[in-house]
Chain length 380, copies 2
C-alpha cells in the first residue's frame, strides 16, 4: 500500500511538474500527512527536491516540490544503416544533448559498434554529464531482437547473431569509447527493434499520444511497422509483431528499391520525393506506386489490428505528408471506413527517442511499478 502511495505521489510530480503538498493531496486523493511522509522520504533519497519559496510571496509560503529530473541520465542510441544517433536525456526525458555520426551502409560489425561507442562518449563529453551518472542505455537496431541479441538482421552486415547488449556493456579496446560502468555493476543496456522503438516514441510524445491502439508504419530504405495495443507496445510472441515485409504479396519488401528503379539516376529516395513535390511527372508516378505498395501491407495490418490511428514515419518522414495523403486515399478504398492517417512528428529522431523511453523505464523501474507514466513534458 505504501509503495502504491509513493508511486501515485511521484507520478503526480513527474507528470504535472512542481506541486505543493496540498495540490498533490488533491490530485492523488491521499491525505496531506501521507503525502508529506512520502515526499519527505523521496527528498531524503534525492529523488524529489524542495524548491525555494517563490519570490514576492507574503506570509508563510506553501512548500513546493519537484521531481529531481537530474538525479540521473539515460542514453538512447539508434544504430541504423546510414547513421548512429545518440540522445541524452534526464530522468524526466528532457533531451540534454544529441549527437549524430554518419556510417557507411557496408560497414561491418566492429566498425558500427565502434561508431556507437564513440558517438555515445562524444555526446556525454559535449553534454558535460559525467559518464558515472548514466543510469541506463536503450538501443534501437533493425532486425529481430530477443533478450539483447539481434537474432536476425538482413540490412546490417555481420549483425545477425550479435549480442548487442553484451557488446555495448563490455569495454572495447579503445578506452575513449568505453561505456561507463555505474557503481561497478555495469550499466543496464536494453535493446529493441527500431520500428518498435519508433512506435513507442510516437505513443510517448509523437503523433499517437492520444490513442491506446495504434500502428506506426516506417518507410525508408525498408518498410517496417510497430503495434501499440492497450497503450503498450505489442511485441508479439517472438518479438515479430508488425513484420509484414516478410510476405511478398503485401508488397512492402522491395518497395523502396522499386521506387528508385522507377527513377533511374535520381539519386536517393529523398531526391525522388523532392522531385515529386516539385511536380516532376516521373517522380510523382513512382511515388504513387510506392504509396500503393505501402498501402497493401498497411491495409493488412489495419484489418488485423483495427487501430484508432496509423502514423507514417521512418527515414522518409520529411516526405510523410506526401505519403500520408496517398495512403489515405488508398486505405479508404481497401478497408473502409478510412482510418485516421497521421504523419510522424518526431522525424528521424523517433528511434532514438523510443530508446530513451525504454532506458527511462529501466532507470525508474523501482519508482514506477506500473511503467513510466506517459504524458507530455512537465511544465517548469
Amino acid at each position: 500500500m505504501r509503495r502504491l502511495n509513493s508511486a501515485d505521489v511521484l507520478t503526480a510530480l513527474y507528470t504535472q511538474g512542481p506541486r505543493t503538498l496540498t495540490e498533490i493531496s488533491a490530485e492523488t486523493g491521499l491525505s496531506r500527512p501521507t503525502v508529506e511522509d512520502v515526499v519527505e522520504a523521496f527528498v531524503r533519497d534525492r529523488i524529489v527536491r524542495e524548491l525555494p519559496p517563490e519570490p514576492g510571496s507574503t506570509g508563510r509560503p506553501a512548500r513546493r516540490f519537484r521531481f529531481a529530473a537530474d538525479g540521473g541520465f539515460v542514453a538512447g542510441i539508434d544504430i541504423g544503416v546510414h547513421k548512429v544517433l545518440v540522445v541524452l536525456a534526464d530522468l524526466e526525458g528532457e533531451v540534454r544533448r544529441v549527437r549524430r555520426t554518419t556510417v557507411e551502409p557496408g560497414s561491418g560489425r566492429a566498425e558500427r559498434l565502434t561508431a556507437a561507442r564513440e558517438t555515445l562518449a562524444g555526446c556525454l563529453d559535449e553534454s558535460g554529464i559525467p559518464p558515472g551518472r548514466l543510469r541506463a542505455i536503450g538501443v534501437g537496431t533493425p532486425g529481430v531482437v530477443q533478450d539483447g541479441v539481434v537474432t536476425l538482421c538482413t540490412v546490417l552486415p555481420g549483425w545477425s547473431g550479435l549480442d548487442l547488449a553484451g557488446a555495448l556493456t563490455t569495454a572495447p579496446a579503445d578506452p575513449a569509447g568505453a561505456v561507463p560502468p555505474v557503481d561497478g555493476t555495469g550499466l543496464p543496456v536494453i535493446v529493441e527493434n527500431d520500428a518498435n522503438l519508433a512506435t513507442i516514441a510516437e505513443h510517448w510524445r509523437g503523433a499517437a499520444r492520444d490513442v491506446r491502439d495504434a500502428v506506426c508504419v516506417l518507410a525508408g530504405n525498408r518498410v517496417a511497422a510497430g503495434v501499440i495495443i492497450g497503450g503498450r507496445l505489442h511485441r508479439g510472441h517472438r518479438g515479430g509483431a508488425g513484420e509484414l515485409g516478410l510476405l511478398p504479396v503485401l508488397r512492402w519488401e522491395g518497395a523502396p528499391d522499386r521506387l528508385l528503379a522507377a527513377c533511374p539516376g535520381s539519386g536517393d529516395l529523398a531526391a525522388v520525393f523532392a522531385a515529386a513535390r516539385s511536380g516532376d511527372a516521373r517522380a510523382s508516378a513512382a511515388v504513387a506506386g510506392f504509396t500503393d505498395d505501402l498501402a497493401t501491407g498497411t491495409a493488412a495490418l489495419l484489418l488485423a489490428v483495427d487501430p484508432a490511428a496509423v502514423v507514417v514515419g521512418g527515414g522518409l518522414s520529411r516526405a510523410g505528408d506526401l505519403i500520408a495523403e496517398g495512403l489515405r486515399d488508398r486505405l479508404a478504398a481497401l478497408c473502409p471506413p478510412p482510418p485516421e492517417v497521421r504523419v510522424s512528428t518526431l522525424g528521424d529522431e523517433a528511434v532514438a527517442t523510443g530508446a530513451v523511453h525504454i532506458a527511462l523505464e529501466r532507470a525508474t523501474a523501482g519508482l514506477f511499478p506500473d511503467g513510466l507514466p506517459i504524458g507530455s513534458l512537465p511544465t517548469r
Copy 2:
C-alpha cells in the same frame, strides 16, 4: 480492499471447486477469519452454498463450501447462416441444455429472429429451467457489431443495421417465443461478432487455453478470424480486428466458393473434404488450393500480431486436421519459424460457447470485477 478479498475468495471457489475455509485461506493468502467473514456473507447472499459433511468423516468435519452454480443461468445463442444454436449453462458455465434449429440461408430478418426466440424458448422448456432464472443472454452473429447493433453483415439477408440486442429484448408477437424479463427490468442481451466469440471460446475452454496471445481462423462458408492479446479478446477500434477477408490479395474472400467451384457437383464443402480424405484426387487438389488461400491471409495475421498459436476452427472444423496439416506446411514457408497450428476442440458449438462466456461475464460482473476467471471446469 474488502471487495478485492471477496473476489479472491469467490475466484478460488469458482475455479477450484468445493473448498474448506483453511484451503481457501492457503490459496488466497488471506487470514482464516477474513475468509470466514467473506464466505458467510456470500452464503447469506446465496452465491455460495455450504456442503453437507462428507460421510464417514470422524470428529468435527471441516466445513466445505462451493460456488452456487445454479444461482442463475445464462444462454448463448449462435445465429448463423444455416442454423440457430442455443446453449444454456449455469453460472459456472456448465452446459445444461443445447438446442439446434436449421435455418435456410435465404431466410429474412423476421424469420431468423423468430427462429432464435423459438429455439431459446424450446431449450429453456426442455431444460426445466424457469425463464425467470436467466441472468443474461449472449448472442453471436456474422458481421460487424457495435453496441448490440449489426452495423454491416453481408451474409444474412436483411441483417445489416439490425438492433439485435433490442430485437431479442423486445417481446415478439408470439408469446411462446418471448425472451423472459428478469425482475421486470429486462434481461441483458450482449451481441458480438461470431468469429470473436469462437475465439473467446477457444481461449476459455478450447485449444488456446494455455496461451495469452492467439489468433483463431474460422473456415466455413466464409473465412474469418479473431485475435486474443494479453489473455483478452482484441476487438479493435471499430470491432473489426481480424477481418482480413476484406483485402482481396489475402485470398480469404471467395475461398470457399473457389473450393466448391473446383469440384462441381460435389455438394457442399463438407462433402469435398470427405472426398479428399478418402483419396479423391480432384477433391484433394481443391482442398490444397483452399488451404493455400487460407494460408495467405493467415500469414498476414501472424506477421501483424505474432501470436503464440493459431487455432483452426469454424464450420469446417471436422476437416480441421486436414486444413491444419496443410496450413503448417505453408505457414512454415511464408513466416518462418513456423507458428504452432492447433485444431479447434469445440466443433460447431464454439460460437455459442463464446456467447455463453460473454453472458456469464455480464451475469457475474458484480462478483468478479476483473472479469470471469478463466479456467477449466471445477471438479465436483
